[in-house]
């Protein structure tokens, strides 16, 4: 079973849920797909061997080029500019579609792999990491997802928001846990996340984190729209302190392991 953990709003507790769930169940594999800010290993503290580069192709223009301009005309992302006697390649804008090579009449374009990040991990934990200054995170999410071991219970920690890397991370999951907090911001962004999941057709339920800090509007929304509330994690000083130190709270509060197992039982 593949379970992804997502949220519209950042900082609601995705990583907390993903890590503590992974530690509460048997035979799990945890994949940190929040490649812009991967935080799972702050809690797991694993030495990550097996580092693999993630690269995307960028065009290299060779001497056969006669500056006809067809490549830059074709490129939807403005990654190529042809001037008299020169072709400029804006590598960060290139999506690697391969179109420029196809349209080049002189066979003057080849591709070179350019590293944008890496995937590291072992056995039951992998994380992706986007290099600083790079814009395109989706290929790294895909590379992490190649590590999925279907025989295990796979838990995916997704990035926040509703943009392309989120969809890449959550697509193909059997279930998605949406972590939110009982505040107006939490509710607004939960609604956005629900729309994403409806669109990609993944079943979902809600976990309310920091219960008690806000109001009841998240619960009312869930009730009205038949969205199951699977767990409530109270606003608790001890949980917050353990989080701040990078300690998964199920290790110090083992009664929560049972609750996470119950949650798994409810969605499997």
């Amino acid at each position: 079973m593949i379970i992804s953990v997502a949220s519209g709003k950042g900082g609601t507790g995705k990583t907390t849920v993903a890590v503590n769930l992974a530690l509460s169940l048997e035979d799990t594999e945890l994949l940190d797909c929040d490649v812009e800010e991967p935080n799972c290993n702050i809690f797991l503290k694993k030495k990550l061997k097996n580092v693999e580069d993630v690269s995307i192709p960028v065009p290299i223009i060779n001497e056969k080029c006669d500056f006809c301009g067809k490549c830059s005309e074709f490129c939807e992302y403005n990654a190529l500019a042809v001037m008299k006697g020169n072709v400029l390649v804006f590598k960060e804008l290139c999506h690697g579609c391969g179109g420029c090579k196809l349209v080049c009449p002189k066979d003057a374009i080849t591709y070179k792999e350019r590293k944008i990040g890496e995937v590291a991990g072992e056995d039951n934990f992998y994380q992706g990491k986007l290099n600083i200054g790079e814009a395109i995170a989706t290929p790294i999410v895909s590379a992490v997802k190649k590590k999925i071991k279907k025989e295990k219970t796979v838990i995916i920690d997704s990035p926040p928001g509703a943009f392309c890397p989120v969809i890449e991370a959550v697509s193909g999951s059997d279930y998605c846990l949406l972590v939110t907090e009982p505040t107006p911001f939490g509710l607004n962004d939960l609604k956005i996340a629900v729309e994403v999941l409806k669109k990609i057709d993944v079943p979902y339920g809600v976990i309310i984190n920091r219960e008690g800090i806000g109001d009841k509007r998240v619960e009312e929304y869930c009730k009205k729209n038949n969205v199951p509330v699977l767990m409530k994690i109270p606003h608790d000083r001890k949980i917050a302190e353990l989080y701040s130190k990078g300690i998964p709270f199920v290790l110090e509060m083992p009664e929560w392991k049972e609750k996470f197992r119950g949650l798994y039982g409810a969605i499997r």
């Binding site: 999506h95 579609c97 986007l130 509703a162 701040s244």
Partner: protein, 295 residues
């Protein structure tokens, strides 16, 4: 990436302050809301187009809205399609299935499929990616946007929000744009901060907060933008707060404010007020004074 804004005629007077955090949920939007109440002659821009929240506090009254198309989408004319499979073979984004169906969420609108199709059966059309709003709030003009669900052009929409905010500022003779950014370090964040005059990173004293601060500071440094830091909920772990202060000192970043954990912030949010309207928070006011002097 499209966010690079060239110097302009009025560029010398107008300043842009971008608020980001790396890690989500550290309090960016709450702080931008407070600045909205404190700053004088400004335009507000919500560049968290994925999951915008600033409107919940500022309750903008929409004056103008524009449809935004960030990228194209391939459409297959099945009456012409000969099922040769060339489009499927050439698509680098796995957006076309073997039985020749377009996956809208994966299609990046590159046009390769249309180019390789021997039957001329594929057409690229502009997709409806989102909406841009120019609004008025009780604290002045605000530019914001809504990205449609599953659309990929968040960087482009961020750039559009920023460019529109500049136009509004020019027209209304405002000298400051305050930008609410998104979490992370990728495309929308880069588009939110390139070309701004000052970046404020809002962090929190947790190990995740510190880790993400270091990464997102790497991005603002990469683009050569002056950066300051504020530590929210600094008293939840004072040891970590010290670590952040040491990091700032070592990196030559000014720490402009330490905000204690205070449930009043959430109460203000629930009442849809800024913390300034709610209880005139002195710590945030002090911090704004320091930032104002810098700008």
């Amino acid at each position: 990436m499209e966010g690079k804004i060239q110097g302009t005629l009025w560029g010398d007077q107008m300043k842009q302050l971008t608020v980001i955090s790396g890690k989500g949920g550290t309090g960016k939007t709450t702080i931008v809301g407070a600045f909205a109440a404190l700053a004088g002659n400004k335009v507000l821009a919500d560049c968290d187009v994925d999951a915008p929240d600033l409107h919940l506090i500022l309750k903008p009254e929409i004056k103008e809205e524009k449809k935004f198309s960030g990228s194209k989408l391939a459409f297959i004319g099945y009456e012409k399609c000969i099922k040769c499979g060339k489009c499927y073979e050439n698509c680098k984004f796995n957006a076309i299935s073997e039985d020749i169906k377009i996956d809208e969420l994966r299609c990046e609108g590159c046009g390769v499929c249309a180019y390789v199709c021997p039957a001329n059966a594929i057409e690229l059309k502009k997709r409806d990616s989102g909406t841009l709003f120019i609004s008025e709030t009780r604290f002045g003009p605000m530019v914001h946007a809504k990205l449609n669900i599953g659309e990929e052009a968040s960087g482009k929409l961020v750039t559009l929000v920023r460019n529109t905010a500049k136009e509004v500022a020019e027209k209304m003779k405002k000298d400051l744009i305050i930008i609410d950014g998104s979490p992370g370090i990728g495309c929308p964040v880069i588009a939110s901060l390139t070309g701004s005059d000052l970046v404020l990173i809002v962090t929190e004293p947790t190990l995740s907060g510190i880790h993400d601060l270091e990464r997102v500071y790497g991005v603002s440094k990469h683009f050569g933008i002056e950066t300051i830091v504020c530590i929210n909920k600094y008293d939840i772990n004072k040891e970590n707060t010290e670590k952040i202060e040491n990091f700032c000192k070592k990196s030559g970043i000014e720490s402009v404010g330490k905000i204690p954990y205070n449930p009043e912030f959430t109460k203000a949010m629930i009442e849809e007020k800024t913390i300034i309207e709610y209880n005139n928070d002195p710590v945030v006011k002090d911090m704004w004074k320091k930032i104002e002097e810098r700008i």
